[in-house]
């Protein structure tokens, strides 16, 4: 009976050791050398038993700390588990979670943190105000891939869209859009260039249609309500019933 439970214990210890292979590797090596050192068979058995008990205790402690640290550092109970932690933004490609850290060229790729240094900050998206960066000349993106001197065709025309309820009206500025894009990017496939011809809803935008083709993917996200809904309405005060 004792033999059986001892075997089980041994299997358990070895599996625990395997689970913590990286940190436990030196211990197992030590255990092996310690176990083989004594000359007599009796001493060997004794040493083995000792090591086993030691290793078991160590492994148990290790597993316990692992579990504890896993809970503390995992997504279980942080301040807000649905948001990106503040300090973990603009990580280098090797740590960003979508790049493969074992890729041999991974450290050749630029880190966004380095690239964004000196660019005007923002609250959403890349945390960079790209339109401001362009206006201030902090970045000089080409308008033509071969000709660095090509100038964009900029159109300065605001379109006001009246929206439902108390939500401020949308003012769509052509200017920043034409600084980045060509007319053909939006017209006529996404927006028919005719007043009243386009039905736009927030539901469609959230699903990546209309404005959502870019906003919510690369251009500032839809969390920035007031950048589009920027024209306040005069809201009539409701008459309060007199007693």
């Amino acid at each position: 009976m004792k033999n059986l439970s001892n075997t089980l214990r041994y299997i358990l210890v070895s599996s625990l050791l395997a689970a913590c292979a990286v940190t436990q590797a030196p211990t197992t090596a030590k255990a092996a050398s310690q176990a083989t050192a004594p000359a007599t068979a009796k001493a060997k058995v004794k040493a083995k038993a000792k090591v086993k008990v030691k290793a078991k205790a160590k492994a148990k402690a290790k597993a316990a700390t692992h579990v504890r640290s896993a809970i503390a550092g995992s997504a279980a109970n942080p301040f807000n588990r649905l948001l990106k932690p503040q300090g973990k933004r603009h990580l280098p490609p090797a740590e960003d979670g979508i790049h493969d850290p074992t890729d041999p060229a991974i450290h050749t790729l630029q880190s966004p943190r380095q690239a964004f240094k000196g660019l005007p900050p923002d609250n959403a998206g890349n945390q960079v105000d790209w339109v401001k960066a362009l206006d201030e000349g902090k970045i000089k993106p080409r308008y033509d891939r071969n000709n660095p001197k090509a100038k964009p065709i900029v159109m300065d025309l605001n379109i006001v869209r009246e929206v439902k309820g108390s939500m401020p009206n949308v003012v769509y500025p052509h200017k920043p859009h034409t600084q980045w894009l060509d007319c053909s990017n939006c017209h006529p496939a996404i927006f028919i260039p005719k007043k009243g011809a386009n039905q736009i809803s927030m539901a469609a935008i959230l699903l990546g249609k209309k404005c959502g083709v870019c906003h919510g993917k690369v251009a500032f996200p839809v969390s920035e309500c007031r950048r589009c809904h920027s024209q306040n309405k005069k809201i009539k005060a409701k008459k309060v019933a007199q007693p």
Binding site: H66, D100, P104, L109, R145
Partner: protein
């Protein structure tokens, strides 16, 4: 079965259970912290035993306006929507219009583009649909 064996078995089961739990807790990968607008394209890569390609929008928009790729080169506004393959690229289409050793580094630098974690699906990282806490219904009103 003798009670001793039963006791040993119970202990064994409890311990293996806690071991598995610990492994799950330790092994859960953290959420990706990649940049807003990073694109993963995995139309053919995984099946071909290659890492998926990662396209960082932030890097490219510092150097080019949207118009260059999305109007001049014909990139659709959809991740994976162009079904780009290496033939198109070496023929100078899509990425190959610049990644030709002339404007940007050439195609022999496989690992610079094909740098994604194997198995990562085609996506726009941190897009609105990814940010929604509850995924939208599959039968969405899909009108452009």
């Amino acid at each position: 079965m003798s009670p001793l064996i039963r006791f040993a078995l119970l202990r064994w089961r409890l311990l293996t259970g806690s071991l598995i739990l610990a492994a799950v807790l330790i092994g859960t990968p953290p959420p990706a912290m990649a940049e807003y607008g990073d694109i993963v394209i995995n139309n053919y890569s995984d099946a071909a035993g290659m890492r998926p390609a990662v396209f960082p929008h932030w890097f490219h928009r510092i150097r080019f306006r949207c118009k260059v790729c999305h109007a001049d080169l014909g990139f659709k506004f959809k991740a994976g929507g162009d079904h780009i393959n290496m033939l198109k690229i070496i023929d100078g289409e899509y990425c190959g219009a610049c990644h030709n050793g002339n404007i940007a580094w050439s195609v022999e630098n496989c690992d610079l583009c094909h740098s994604g974690k194997p198995g990562t699906p085609t996506q726009v990282h941190e897009s609105t649909l990814q940010q929604l806490v509850t995924p939208p219904p599959k039968t969405a009103p899909a009108k452009k």
